[in-house]
């Protein structure tokens, strides 16, 4: 199981090698800010 996770991690790292990591963080931040009006404390209503 541990080996499988390590392999998965290495594979993702390989795939991400050419990607600007800042863009990924900004993507997440913008998804969060766009969903803020729809985010209830317990659950997420994806209804924007």
């Amino acid at each position: 199981m541990e080996n499988q996770n390590t392999n998965q991690k290495t594979k993702i790292e390989d795939l991400l090698s050419g990607i600007d990591k800042q863009l990924l963080i900004k993507l997440l931040d913008s998804l969060i800010s766009e969903q803020i009006p729809n985010i209830a404390s317990e659950n997420i209503k994806d209804t924007k």
């Binding site: 990607i19 600007d20 863009l23 990924l24 993507l27 997440l28 969903q35 985010i39 997420i44």
Partner: protein, 541 residues
């Protein structure tokens, strides 16, 4: 050819994107299209199997760790895993996409567009410094005109297709053949009572009275009520209003249908009456005529029903006291195929074939005459966009300016003309200032002073932008172009900024030329009308 289309907005936006996908398939039959949508709305994309692969953005799974456990890192890991699995693995194996079309115009979509490897990208993007970036003309048009609520008369379906460089093609849903039960009469009318916001629909009491009046006026009619689960309470008010009428004459489907079942029922209708953008697109895709009651802050030119022979009613007053009677009259006239004498402005849709083999959906006034000056500027800006963005003069007549007969209209026309002249002077001055900057790129003191001059010019243009409504589209276009100027040196930045001012000058000149042509035509018409009267006078004398 591998194409990625990103549409992370709502169901109606997905429906407005699909004709572009169909157009791409028609133009490039062997292309492979991946369509990215939010998981919540994936059913809409799957109802129309045009894309080769529909990729769902699992927003719930991504945001859940953050909301429930305050674990942003876990959310980021889920997001990264999704991107790696859905896009990067394929890129690794077969290379980047040939073309990415981001038709969403949201911040998140612009980051996603930038992350997924692609040889060419159109739509909203991000520059290296994180600022928004747009590099193709029709996306720039969308950003400066549609998103800023300017005088746009192009349907979103047509704009999306223009961004992709294709003609929009018809779409048709996969319909399940479940029998809806009892046979329905030919005059079955769908009534869709819901909308994305309550202020974009009618009050349920009005829907109730409207339904009652339709059933009483049309004894052969059967009504099908559509709406989502959220509309169930509203539908109850409608049902209460018609409870004196035999239940055999209507069927309440509000909140009861899944999307694929809904299309089956819609196809049973002769007309669907709806305020909703989603139904505006879905019913025509099912081959059913729409009567769109367009209320609230929506532009029916952009999101009205697409295709031939649909109607848009644009009531100004939707109160029970004043607005209901003319609304009922207009709907009954349309259903019975009679001319519309109601006081509610009514438009009819028509597909116009353009000179470059694409099409556009036009809204033509049926029972009223549009304000001449507004009509002139709407058409003039459309012509300008076609010329600037697609490189051709569209083959519609020169906009008319028949009779700006009221003092208000004349004053507005004069103010607009004066503002056009002012914009032209400012843009010429801006252009000259930029040239001075290029010539004196080493002189920092002079550069500072010239930079201040540019800031003042921008300030004056912004004053005109906010004070003269018919000038705003021009200044907005320039502003978006200027915000997208990038460069590594003062010379490069000044040269590109000069380009934006020069383009603004040319755009003003084109609008002025169209205005002159319209006024000349107006003068000619006036002379023709006066000539026979003069002759008559001579004979009498």
């Amino acid at each position: 050819m591998r194409i990625l289309v990103i549409q992370l907005a709502r169901s109606n936006d997905i429906l407005q994107t699909l004709p572009t996908l169909a157009g791409l398939k028609r133009k490039f039959p062997n292309c492979h299209i991946d369509l990215v949508v939010r998981e919540t709305f994936q059913d809409v994309a799957k109802l129309f199997p045009i894309a080769d692969r529909t990729i769902s953005l699992p927003l719930r799974a991504i945001l859940k760790p953050l909301i429930n456990e305050k674990q942003k890192v876990k959310s980021l890991a889920t997001l990264i895993t999704w991107i790696a699995d859905e896009f990067l693995e394929a890129t690794y194996a077969i290379g980047p996409y040939d073309l990415t079309l981001n038709l969403t115009f949201s911040e998140s979509s612009s980051f996603l567009t930038e992350i997924i490897p692609s040889k060419e990208r159109r739509g909203l993007r991000r520059a290296f410094d994180g600022a928004y970036a747009i590099n193709d003309p029709w996306s720039s048009y969308t950003y400066s005109q549609v998103l800023r609520h300017n005088l746009n008369i192009l349907h979103l379906n047509d704009i999306f297709a223009r961004i992709a460089g294709v003609a929009p093609a018809p779409i048709s849903p996969v319909v399940h053949t479940r029998d809806p039960g009892a046979a329905l009469p030919p005059l079955t009318i769908g009534i869709h009572i819901g909308a994305s916001h309550s202020n974009k629909s009618l009050n349920p009491k009005i829907w109730g009275i409207l339904s009652q009046e339709i059933l009483e006026a049309l004894p052969d009619a059967h009504l099908l009520f559509f709406g989502s689960k959220e509309d169930k309470k509203r539908s109850q008010i409608v049902m209460n209003a018609i409870n004196g009428i035999s239940e055999e004459r209507y069927t309440n489907l509000v909140g009861r249908l899944k999307l694929h079942d809904m299309t089956h029922w819609i196809k049973k209708c002769a007309h669907v009456i709806t305020p909703d953008t989603f139904m505006n697109q879905l019913a025509p895709a099912c081959g059913v005529n729409v009567i769109n009651i367009s209320v609230g802050d929506v532009n029916p030119y952009e999101v009205g029903p697409y295709g031939e022979e649909h109607f848009v009613l644009r009531p100004q007053d939707t109160t029970l006291e004043q607005g209901l009677r003319p609304l009922v009259e207009a709907i009954l006239s349309i259903v019975m195929g009679e001319s519309i004498n109601s006081e509610i402005p009514a438009f009819k849709t028509k597909l116009i074939r353009c000179s470059d083999e694409t099409v556009r959906c036009e809204l033509t006034p049926v029972n009223f005459r549009k304000n001449d000056i507004r009509n002139f500027f709407e058409q003039a800006y459309y012509l300008l966009a076609e010329f600037r963005n697609s490189g051709h003069f569209e083959d519609i007549p020169i906009p008319k300016l028949d009779n700006p007969d009221t003092t208000y209209s004349t004053n507005l026309l004069i103010a607009s003309y004066d503002a056009l002249c002012a914009v032209k002077k400012l843009s010429t001055f801006g252009s000259q200032t930029c040239v001075q900057m290029i010539k004196n790129a080493e002189d920092t003191t002079l550069l500072k002073s010239l930079g201040k001059q540019i800031t003042e010019i921008e300030g004056l243009l912004k004053t005109l932008q906010t004070s003269v409504v018919y000038i705003k589209p021009l200044v907005d276009t320039w502003e978006v172009a200027k915000e997208n100027v990038i460069g590594d040196s003062v010379t490069e930045l000044a040269a590109r900024t000069e380009g934006t001012f020069r383009e603004l000058t040319h755009n003003v000149e084109m609008i002025q030329e169209l205005l002159q042509l319209a006024l000349n035509k107006n003068i000619e018409n006036a002379k023709t009308k006066q000539a026979p009267q003069a002759e008559e006078k001579e004979i009498t004398q």
